[in-house]
């Protein structure tokens, strides 16, 4: 350090020893020294005298140029900008400057203070800095949001130069309604970005990939020809032993996922941790099926998590700090939450679970900034609601109707579509006479108000635990010669449906697995039940079983092939025994009978049962081909039925590659056109999550949970 001028005599940097709380004096590092206080007697150097000082100046200039390049897009143009960038950014970021509004005398004091702490510049530099800051960040200047900020670049599939971290400049897009406070424009993932998620296929911005939930990606680096070259890139081992059902989000090179109710932010290229948010739900949380979390939502720079103790929590996506925590429902009454929230405009929407505990289900929207409730739709119609006459006496109060997977959204109609779970008690419909609206139903709600626009009930008065929570896929297709906006929906009851998503009109219902309960549909799509297709004290054999012909994991639709893909469970059946329907708050309330071979015995030979990836023609529901994933006889399963009966969701890409997996632990890539096997890897644990794809720096990745870990693959 040259004590006369305050400039360093050399620039020496060594690697920091660690990030532990060891005092800097004990670490092997050398300060660059730009911010050290200048020599006594002179804090405004006029000129440099020695060669060493000149070499130091060159270093400073290069460093200043680099910092200037970095900072250029953050400051308004004008005289003095370069000086500000040079003097101010050597010690701190520009946000410390741009976030302030002060009078000129106050800026002058501030700059003097910074010089006393080591900012280096001539008297003329200081004068220019004060003038610039006063002019651009004076007391009468508007907040940052209206300053000239570089616009977000055109989205493209390919990322920029190698090793350049994928970051998004500050955006200045507002979304939703004006907030009452002067928060300024949103940064990060705006509503507009999610609306146009297809324009940035390198990211996975919402649970379903896009609001249409097609699980179809425009990424095409991995092809049927090179899929055989896929290799493992990294693994995240979640410290979690319950079924791992979380679908991650990926935003600009950062992957957000969960382990239980903890949230983690990972480098999407290598799985290294940025931060972790730890959450412990209350011990009295009622968990029918394990401590499950299916994913997150993001809006702006805020993540949203639905915790199993029925709390909705907002978390800062940059540092993992909680922002607000809203109690959605009472856990002691049996409520829980396992779905990934859905953000629409300025609201975050979730459904509640607990259908086996006599809840009254609902879908609820909260203000994304404050966590205050905006609207609520009850999934069991009560007095005064349309459909209230579908419940005998007061059975609606405990009628179930849980909502535990994430819905879809159509901006053209402003409708959000959600599947609703089974009625309660599950296996005894005697205590709840009537159709039991809106259980086992697809509902279309106004996204702003939550008002019901239409509904389609797949199973009126169902006694087989057939939740209708399967994700609605929104597609614009040519339906029997005419363009039509449809919902493609594969239901637990073993039927594939096509509905008009504007009106709810029933267009098609076709079985995709063996079934014996349905004898057809009337003109409105109401199922015609087979005789005696109801739960009974002596037991009734029904195909498919209570876990269904398919379950909650996402299907996919490829606009390229025109095919609908799902994981189907073939030859599974259950004998449904009816038991008493006695309600006690917070206790199991499913009305099941008891049988010596088990409460819900699954009959039939194991080797006849299997799970397969099936491709259906949406025009007819006919099967085009299938690929076997699991056999019923396999020992490869974890304890617990969730993993015993589950399978992965399906992902398709614009290069006609399909990814899926099953409970036997084999992850496969298939040709989406014909089902031929392109690649497989045995991961050793059941897959019951939706695979996703993303890219960073032009490299495409595929992510899938298996067992208790997240595996990420890419091309060699």
């Amino acid at each position: 350090m040259n004590r006369r001028t305050g400039f360093p005599s050399a620039v020496t940097v060594t690697q920091a020893a660690s990030t532990s709380n060891v005092h800097p004096r004990w670490q092997r590092e050398t300060f660059i020294g730009f911010c050290e206080a200048p020599a006594v007697g002179s804090n405004r150097p006029r000129r440099f005298a020695s060669p060493r000082e000149y070499s130091a100046l060159v270093s400073i200039v290069f460093l200043g140029l680099a910092l200037t390049a970095q900072a250029q897009s953050s400051l308004p143009d004008g005289p003095g900008k370069a000086v500000v960038e040079r003097m101010c950014t050597t010690c701190h970021g520009l946000n410390v400057v741009t976030g302030q509004r002060m009078t000129k005398p106050r800026w002058a004091d501030q700059v003097d203070d910074m010089v006393s702490r080591g900012a280096v510049g001539t008297d003329e530099d200081v004068k220019q800095v004060v003038e610039y800051l006063s002019r651009n960040f004076g007391k009468d200047q508007p907040p940052d949001g209206n300053a000239e900020i570089a616009a977000a670049p055109e989205s493209s599939v390919e990322q920029s130069t190698a090793n350049e971290p994928a970051t998004v400049p500050l955006a200045s897009t507002r979304h939703g309604e004006e907030s009452e406070d002067s928060r300024g424009p949103e940064t990060g993932v705006t509503f507009e970005r999610i609306l146009n998620a297809n324009k940035e296929p390198q990211n996975w911005l919402t649970y379903g990939g896009t609001y249409q939930s097609l699980h179809y990606s425009l990424l095409n680096k991995i092809t049927p020809e090179n899929a055989k070259n896929l290799e493992l890139k990294w693994v995240f081992q979640a410290r979690w032993l319950d079924p791992y059902e979380t679908t991650p989000l990926v935003v600009d090179g950062v992957l957000y996922t969960m382990q239980g109710d903890d949230v983690v932010a990972l480098d999407a290229t290598n799985g290294r941790l940025f931060w972790i948010y730890k959450y412990t739900p209350v011990p009295e949380a009622r968990l029918c099926c394990g401590r499950i979390s299916r994913g997150l939502a993001i809006l702006g720079d805020t993540l949203y998590m639905a915790a199993v103790d029925a709390h909705l929590i907002a978390i800062d996506a940059k540092n993992g700090h909680p922002l607000w925590d809203t109690t959605v429902a009472k856990t002691t009454s049996g409520y829980t939450m396992t779905d990934a929230p859905l953000v629409i405009k300025n609201k975050v929407i979730v459904g509640v679970a607990g259908g086996e505990y006599g809840i009254r289900g609902f879908i609820v929207a909260y203000d994304a900034h404050t966590g205050k409730e905006a609207w609520r739709f009850y999934t069991t119609a009560g007095p005064g609601d349309p459909g209230a006459d579908s419940w005998g006496s007061d059975s609606w109060k405990r009628g179930g109707g849980s909502v535990w997977t994430t819905g879809s959204y159509d901006p053209e109609t402003n409708l959000t579509y959600w599947g609703v779970g089974n009625a309660g008690p599950d296996y005894n419909g005697d205590v709840r006479p009537g159709d039991n609206l809106y259980t086992s139903t697809m509902v279309a709600l106004d996204a702003d108000t939550g008002k019901l626009k239409w509904h389609y009930q797949a199973n009126p008065h169902n006694e087989f635990d057939w939740d209708a929570v399967q994700v609605p896929l929104l597609a614009n297709i040519t339906w029997r010669g005419k363009p039509r906006k449809v919902i493609l929906w594969a239901n637990r009851n073993g039927f594939f449906y096509v509905l008009d998503r504007t009106t709810g009109e029933f267009l098609l219902g076709k079985a995709f697995v063996k079934q014996n309960w349905n004898m057809g549909f009337d003109k409105n799509g109401r199922p015609i039940m087979a005789p005696n297709a109801k739960s009974s004290t002596e037991g009734t054999l029904i195909f498919p079983d209570n876990q269904g012909g398919t379950n909650w994991f996402n299907p996919s639709f490829s606009p390229r092939t025109g095919l609908f893909y799902l994981n189907a469970r073939e030859n599974y059946s259950t004998q449904f025994f009816k038991g008493p329907g006695d309600y006690e708050e917070g206790s199991r309330y499913d009305g099941r009978g008891h049988h010596p071979f088990g409460d819900l015995p699954v009959v039939g030979a194991d080797e006849e049962k299997y799970t397969a990836l099936r491709a259906l023609d949406p025009q007819t529901g006919e099967r085009k081909w299938e690929f076997k994933l699991n056999t019923g006889a396999s020992l490869h399963t974890f304890e617990g039925w969730q993993t015993a009966f589950g399978a992965a969701g399906v992902l398709t890409t614009a290069s006609d590659v399909l990814f899926t997996g099953g409970r036997e632990g084999t992850f496969v890539a298939l040709d989406a056109r014909n089902g031929s096997l392109l690649w497989k890897v045995i991961l050793g644990g059941p897959m019951i999550m939706n695979p996703i794809t993303y890219s960073v720096d032009g490299k495409q990745y595929i992510a899938i949970n298996a067992g208790t870990s997240l595996f990420v693959f890419g091309l060699r």
């Binding site: 300060f31 953050s74 203070d113 290598n270 940059k318 922002l323 925590d325």
Partner: protein
């Protein structure tokens, strides 16, 4: 007085002092600011925090302010009133290790400064000065290390005594997220 008596007197003083210090250090823990009745007006204190004090230019509370320096959202559960006063009026000239700024220089000459969040043998993860999460492979870096970080300034001369009290009263209300 004999030298023996002097020695005994001195010994008593020393031992007594040691015992007294031990008793004080073994006393009850300091109450956090959130547990203490604090004079001052927290509403005025918040206005100072967000206005005259310009605290948000460096600190963060809930979803407002800078993420580059300590988050104060639950500071009342972490510090006593005395500690808050000391930090405000007589701050330490040295920045705590976990709050130091970090700088990397890439092979193509870009310099990124920010907070170091994590690192391992091969990579490091940061929150840069634009508050974006960024990650680097160390093999792609020319330099990477901690840099001298300006400590917090003293507010002794910037705020009146009453304003200082109001600001402390506001900080004493910051107990983190409440379940609503």
């Amino acid at each position: 007085m004999t030298k023996w008596a002097v020695g005994i007197y001195l010994g008593v003083i020393v031992v007594g002092g040691v015992l007294l210090a031990q008793e004080r250090s073994a006393g009850p823990r300091s109450k956090s600011a959130g547990e203490t009745q604090v004079p001052g007006d927290p509403t005025k204190g918040q206005a100072i925090f967000e206005g005259k004090g310009e605290c948000l230019s460096c600190h963060r509370v809930a979803d407002r302010g800078s993420r580059m320096y300590p988050d104060l959202s639950d500071i009342a559960t972490q510090r006593s009133v005395e500690e808050l006063q000391k930090a405000l009026l007589n701050p330490s000239p040295e920045v705590a290790p976990g709050h130091r700024l970090y700088r990397v220089v890439t092979r193509d000459g870009r310099t990124i400064t920010g907070r170091l969040l994590n690192q391992d043998v091969y990579s490091l993860q940061m929150l840069d000065s634009k508050e974006q999460l960024v990650a680097f492979q160390k093999t792609n870096l020319r330099e990477f290390n901690f840099v001298q970080t300006p400590p917090m300034p003293s507010y002794r001369d910037k705020l009146s005594t009453e304003e200082q009290a109001d600001l402390i009263a506001y900080l004493a209300t910051l107990r983190g997220v409440k379940k609503q």
